[in-house]
Structure formats: C-alpha cells, structure tokens
Symmetry: C2
Subunit: 306 residues, 2 copies
C-alpha cells in the first residue's frame, strides 16, 4: 500500500460530544483549514435531532457556508430518512448512514434494532443515489458494544453482506468505543472483505484504550482503502459511555507518511491547524504530534525544536 | 506468538526524569505491586552518577530493600564499568548495558562515542558473566536521534553484530525518543534478527508520537521475544529533549491479552497499581486503561463501569 485516503471527521464526530457548542463560523474555519491542508473527503455535519445532539443543530448553516466545489467530498451523517431528506436539501456530496452491530447500542443511538438499522441504511443509500449523490454505510460498534459487551463477528459479516446489496460507495467498520486490537481488526476486515465483493472498506477507530493507531495500521495492512481520523484527536459519542477521541489526524499522518504511505495531506499544516483548534477549545487535545513535533523536523518548522 | 515476556521499566526509565524524587519505600512498593501482579523481570534501578540523575541516587537502597528471590529477575542499568561494579555489589540478577546508535546522543547520555559505547557494553556483559549474573545490551536511539535526526539502519545492524560477539542474554532496540513507525520496526528487527543468530531480541518504545503500541505489536510480529513497558506510561530520558513516556504497561497488556498473547501478568491488578501510582505522583498518567477500564469489563471490577 503506497497511498491511503483519509476522511477528516473532526467537524462531526470530533465536535458532537463537546459540552460547548462551537459557532458555525469556527466550524467553517476548521473545515476550510483542513481543505487547505489537502484533505479531500470530510464529514462536515450530521443531520440528526438537534435536541439530542445540539452541537449539530447548525448542519444546514455549515453546509451553506462551505465553498462550492466538487474537488472535496462533503459527507453528511444521517440516521434515518428524515435526516437524509434534510441532508439532500443541502450541497452534501455523500450521505453517511449507520448500521449498528448490537441492538442495545442501535436503540440508544438511533431508536432502531440492529436489523432495522440495516434496512434504514440501505434505504438511505437508495435515497442518495436517487438524488444523484453517493451513499456509504458505517457498521457501528463492530468490535464491541458499550452495553452488550462482545459483538459476534459472524453478525457483523452478515450485516456487511446484507448492506452490500444496496451497493454503497463503501462499507466502514467502526470501533465506536475503542476496544479493538490489531489482530481483531485484521480478522474482521479479512472476513468482511470476502463477503462484500469489490466494495471498498473504510475503518474508523477511537483511541480510548491506546490501540487506535495500531488498529489503523492493521486495517491498512488488511486492505482498508480509507481511514477516518479527527483533527487533534477530538471525539466521542454522546450515546456511548466513556467513548473518547477518534484517532488524531496529525498522529495518523505521521505514522503513514514515515511509513511511505502517501495521503495528499500536509502534516505540518495539520499540526498548525490542530494547535489552532486546541486554542479554540481552550485545552490540550489528545494529538501528540502538536506537542512532540514532526521527525525529522521539517526545515520550515524546526526553529522551535531541539 | 501466543506469549511474550514483559520487562517492567517504570521504577527506572519511568521515574528517572521525574522532577520530584520518590522515597525509596515508595519505589519498593511500586516494584512489589508489580511482582504481586505477576511481573517476573523488572528494571529496578540504574547505577549512574547521582549528580546527573538524582532520582536514581538510592539504587543500592532499592536493591537492599527488595525481596530475596530468584523467581524475579532484577535488572540494574549501567553505563560504564564503575556502574557495573556498583550494581554487582548488590543482588541484581542482570546488568543492562546501553550502546548508543548516534555519537551526539552517546556523548550526552554517557560521555562516549557510539563506537566506545559498543566496547563498554561488551565489557559490562563480560563483567556480569564473570560475577555469575547475566548481561544484556540495549541499542539506544536505534530509530532516530534527538540531535542527529535519522539513524542509518546499516549502523544499527553493524552494532548489533558487534555486540553479539559478547553473547549477551539479549539485544534490545530502543526508540528512545518515540519516532519509530511499525514498518521501520519490522524492517530493523528483521535485519538485526538475521545479524545476531539466536540471541533473543527485546524492543523498547516510547509513545511520544502515539505510535508506541503500534510499534510494540509490529515488534511482536517481527519476532521480538520481550517488550519493555512502564506502569502508567511514566517515562522520559533526562538527556533526550521532549522524550515522553514509555508505552504504558496497562495498555500494552490490554492489547496483548485481547489478542490472545499471554504475559502472565494480571491486567486488573496492574490497572489498580497504575491508579495507585497516579495518586502517588499527584496527576493523571498517560495509561488509558485506568480511565477507560478493561473490556469486556472483568466481573470482579465491573461495578463502576457502564
């Protein structure tokens, strides 16, 4: 693997669990900085119930404020047909649907059983296609559930096969609560790969137990085409207890680039953006590159280092 | 790989960079807790100049206070013959010598060139054997130097081959400043493996850039027999700018155990010990398992979780 695609999820998964609601203008700055750094696929908003996720209440305003371009793919997360309709009334290029691997988490996250979430996700992909957009599906809690504990990989593979019938742009496996380990990632991606034909696989990890970057590397080795990450390592799910940050984009880029895997994204620019975001949030963020610095230090940025 | 050996380095590498000097009795508690949790190989102290590393000034007292046992291997770090003599006057089972892969870091860390550090390390192994103890050697800054930048892997391989002439118990590759990535780890361990015959390989990682656990897993896959880690993720080197914590023992155990790799160490006991250490240090430590909890939650410990 000499290159991999990154989906920046900081403006959606990163922010949705924050107690303080960021102004729309700040979200737009964050997204525009990411685009300027070379990110070409971005979760820009989620079209969910604003009473349940108030941080995403300005989804339409965020979309309206973004540059008109087809050079970047804007992804809107939706959990049901109502959300899909809202998203399709904006300039999102892509709907991101969510099928949940456990009933307990599906019910808390989106008021559906696991089986219902599969059917809804397929209909969302159909809606996206009918509107001339693309649609993809994330299998959430694929490596473990905060309420039910272990999730049977057979169930995840069967879900992926069922979801493939809708022919989504991609199917993602998400470790929503950060419990996965590399061997598990390799095994599950291998099985899903065999079950869904040529549909690309995306992987989504949280660093709750310090295994996030190891899992990302394992996913790449297992053939994932795309990895999600979040600027600064912001993140967490409002409906998953103790869920913490996504893997930090800066740290992931460091690992990939130093391994000779290209992403098209400027790491130094993302480190600067992460430091800006840390100032905005008023606290240090989990990303470690912004503290440790690149290695070897980039000539243009080595002034402050050792 | 169905099992791997862990060397707990918290009482040495973990503490040596701390501004507040821990009382000897607290260090002894820390080591005894680790032994009670199942750790069987421990860096207990370093026998270095107390003016340069005041945290290790009580090395002899720590050794004298430890239980008399051959069921646990106590390792004393030494950088020269004087340190080896001091260590051999105690009940250490094993001397840990350090050869440094770059001249600049060798000079700052131990006042030797890289080539001199190889010769000294070999003599330390000879001294250990002559005293009926074992001796092993760590190649420090093997993946990058804080002063010279990139380190030539050819040089590291040549050093390992030269060190192997002393027939140490093992040779370790250390990412002293936390710059390594998994592909680099696999490549370098593979080359060193081919250069040193049947001498076992240990690997030592810092999590400075969030790649530490990914590197540990890569080292295991590449055939390392032993991994270093530090309770709570304490750590840092007094002579390496911006060096931060070792990989946390708790988080490493989680990754290994969930992958079916046995260590003989009780993770829940180590989580408890890490929480005790966090109280002792008066701040949260980098280890994430002590905040996130085991998964699935252990029956005896699930009361407080979700």
């Amino acid at each position: 693997m000499t290159s991999i695609e990154i989906v920046e999820v900081g403006a959606r998964d990163g922010l949705q669990n924050e107690p303080d609601i960021l102004p729309t203008a700040t979200k737009l700055q964050m997204i525009n900085f990411a685009i300027a750094a070379g990110v070409r696929r971005i979760e820009t908003a989620s079209f969910v119930n604003p009473r349940r996720v108030p941080q995403m209440a300005d989804a339409e305003d965020v979309m309206a404020g973004l540059p008109d371009t087809d050079a970047v793919t804007y992804i809107g997360l939706v959990l049901n047909e109502r959300g899909a309709e809202r998203a399709l009334a904006t300039k999102v290029h892509e709907l991101g649907a969510v099928a949940v691997a456990s009933d307990s988490f599906a019910m808390r996250n989106q008021g559906q059983t696991s089986a219902e979430s599969v059917e809804v996700a397929k209909r969302i992909v159909d809606m996206a296609k009918a509107a001339g957009r693309s649609g993809q599906i994330t299998i959430s809690a694929a490596f473990g559930c905060p309420f039910d504990g272990e999730v049977d990989p057979d169930h995840v593979v069967a879900m992926a096969a069922a979801l493939a019938e809708a022919n989504p742009r991609e199917i993602a496996l998400a470790d929503t609560i950060g419990v996965a380990v590399p061997s598990q990632v390799k095994a599950l991606i291998g099985r899903v790969r065999a079950a869904i034909g040529t549909i690309p696989i995306r992987a989504h990890f949280h660093n709750t137990r310090n295994t996030g970057l190891a899992n990302a590397w394992a996913a790449l080795e297992a053939g994932a085409a795309t990895l999600d990450s979040s600027l600064g390592g912001l993140g967490g799910c409002p409906f998953a207890p103790k869920a913490t940050g996504n893997i930090p984009t800066e740290d992931l880029l460091y690992l990939l680039h130093r391994s000779g895997v290209a992403t098209g994204i400027d790491l130094d620019a993302m480190i600067g953006t992460g430091q800006w975001l840390s100032n905005v949030m008023g606290r240090p963020l989990p990303a470690m590159l912004s503290r440790a610095g690149n290695f070897p230090p980039s000539p243009a940025h080595s002034g402050a280092g050792a």
